[in-house]
């Protein structure tokens, strides 16, 4: 059963009033628990697709044929949601992992991970479940091998360590969908493999559905399914003869 379904998805940016189409009439379906890799070259629209799936951006109102887009998550339409509803969706159902980690530099490792529960629960509910949140955060950080770095700031970590913090942050609210945008793009190959190992382990542990965008076919081959994004359109690979 698909957890995520997309149809007629288009996205056009305007650069100096000139329209720049990035995604054209895209259709996609992701099964629950599936690891989907979206392969594409730089500028192909991979990140844009992820942002639309995660509710960080909104698609064009219609595609070239006048058809409105459909973005469905667990049979819920995301394309018509209010901003507040999209904020809740990102807070509860989605975890983001970015290429450049995007950690808050003033916060410690543990605090960066705890941002998620703080945002999701609000002041009073978080205060009531503070210990539970801290235990969960510590557990995730231990799972990614950072239990000894809880009080350190991001500037004191290596690239791989920062990405592992980002992964823990993405999983703290027990999302159903993990969206990873070139999670190893800023790391060397060996570190990148370790990161993917960590992600794969956690995915299995938490029964996550994951959509990962990458330009590296080797990394993409680790996924359950690979699709290619070219000129704004998705292409499924040719079945092996």
């Amino acid at each position: 059963m698909s957890i995520l379904r997309v149809e007629h998805l288009s996205k056009t940016y305007r650069l100096r009033r000139e329209p720049v189409p990035v995604l054209r009439d895209l259709a996609l379906s992701v099964e629950r628990g599936e690891w989907l890799a979206v392969l594409g070259s730089s500028g192909s629209g991979k990140s844009t697709l992820l942002h639309l799936l995660g509710g960080l951006d909104r698609p064009d109102k219609t595609n070239d044929h006048g058809m409105p887009p459909i973005i469905e998550f667990e049979q819920r339409r995301l394309d018509g949601l209010s901003q507040a509803a999209l904020d809740r969706y990102r807070s509860r159902d989605v975890g983001f992992v970015f290429q450049f980690y995007h950690l808050v530099p003033e916060l410690t490792v543990l605090e960066n991970v705890l941002l998620g529960p703080m945002i999701r629960r609000g002041r009073f509910a978080y205060a009531a479940h503070r210990k539970e949140a801290r235990d969960r955060a510590s557990g995730l950080l231990e799972a990614v091998g950072l239990s000894h770095r809880l009080g350190h700031r991001p500037a004191e970590l290596s690239g791989g360590e920062r990405q592992r913090v980002a992964i823990a942050r993405a999983l703290i609210n027990e999302p159903k969908l993990l969206l990873a945008d070139e999670p190893t793009g800023n790391l060397d190959r060996a570190t990148g493999q370790k990161i993917l190992d960590a992600v794969a382990g956690l995915r299995a542990q938490h029964e996550l559905t994951m959509v990962m965008v990458t330009h590296d076919p080797v990394l993409a081959s680790r996924a359950d399914r690979v699709v290619t994004l070219e000129a704004g359109r998705l292409r499924e690979p040719e079945p092996a003869a």
Binding site: D87, L103, M118
Partner: protein, 526 residues
Amino acid sequence: MYQALLTRRYLFSKIMPLLAAVAVALCCAMVLIVWSVMGGFLAMLIGSGRTLTGDVAVTWPTAGFAYYDELIERLEADPMIEAAAPMIETFGVIALPSGRTETVIVRGVEGATYARVTDFERTLYWVPMERPMPKDREGEDWRLRSHEAWDMHREHGLALAEPGDDGVPRPAVVPGIAVAEANIRRAWGGFVPGAAVVTGPDGSTRFLDRAFFNDEVTLYVAPQDDQGRVRDMVARVFPVANEFQSGLYEIDRRVVLAELGAIQAMLGMNEGRRLREPSVFDPFAIEEDPETGAEAIRPPAEFVRDPARVTTVLIRGVGDGRDPRPLAQRVREIYRGFAADHAGMVPPEGEGLGTILIQTWEDQNRTLIEAVKKETALVLILFSIISFTAVFLVLAIFWAMVSEKTRDIGILRSIGASRAGVAWLWLRYGAAIGLIGTLLGMGIAFAVILNINEIHDLIGAVGALFGMNTVIWDPSVYYFARIPTEIVPWKVAVVFTGGLLSSVVGALIPAIRAAWMHPVRALGFE
């Protein structure tokens, strides 16, 4: 919750927001200091007036009014009134031992009753002191020694009388401490007798071997006749029993207190008998000339009692810190009854010309007090406008901070923070800056206000080192010898709230900007 965490972390991670806090602090301190000094000036002006004139005055200038003792009796019977005292106020000239003459305001009072209505006893300067003044580290103050002598001066000052060589009390004067300029003001704030050498008109000098308060002066006043015409000046020598210091320079420079009876006698306002034509003409009143035996219709003259008069009755109400206006109204009612009982003999009560003046100290000095109030309001408005620059400073700094933290905003939005949550983060941050700045400003203000005179003295001392006259607060210009201040809780609350609000208002536009940032663009911000 995350807003509190990030506010704490952002506060001390950058120097720029702390500079905004300093700006808020300086603006708050500036407004509070100015408000405190001007408010203190106004409060001291109003309070000092009461020091030597009580709460309310009933006045009929120059000619004065009679039966004042009865009026005083009626006033003191009222539960709103604690005490009342008679006074004559007139212009005079004082001839000082140094040979100088000064025009002065002469107030003839009864020492004991005057002390009940005013703070006269507290203002007497030459009295024994147990402890030196705070800055008199060398113990220079004469009043610390020879307490018996100062006790005697205090008694004489209160009584406005000194025993003569024959032991009989003579009426005396108590001038303001700055009338004779015979005392030297020391750095510790008090006076020591000085000006031991005087120069005569021929250029010769002589030594004054007596302190002013042990000397004598000649007081000249100008009585008036029945028609209100000024007669020749009347002079009398008075011993100086003591000096007073009200704290109000103009009073200390111009006023001389004298014994009431002596002033009444000099002005012809004491009780006496005089010949008066009868008020009713009896045509059948035939008078026979004892020498010629001729009969004639001649209304006989008669001796009548001319009661003593004073120009003013001073009144003190019950309790401290009271509003004198209800008291003035009550005094008016009492006087109305008094005037009705002595119709034609005392000035009537009412409004307008020809009626008795019943005024509070504020009424008497309304022009000055209103001017000070308006000046206070104007200065506060101007300084508040200047302080508004803090709003724009906070706005500019927060605008820059939002730009710097754009990626953080994108991160927060990507993990589900709402626009309102992001806006609240920046408003909270602005409020935190405002709170720090305002508290710092309060601290600076209190430190200055509580030590303002010491700071002023230090500025003067430093300026003197460089040959500059940096005495900012000249007592001769500003009425008071010391810079007055007051700390009023509601004013502190207003400045505190204003400082806090200005910072929040300054953060408002940056907060809205942060909230409406596109999260994708924010994440990609370099």
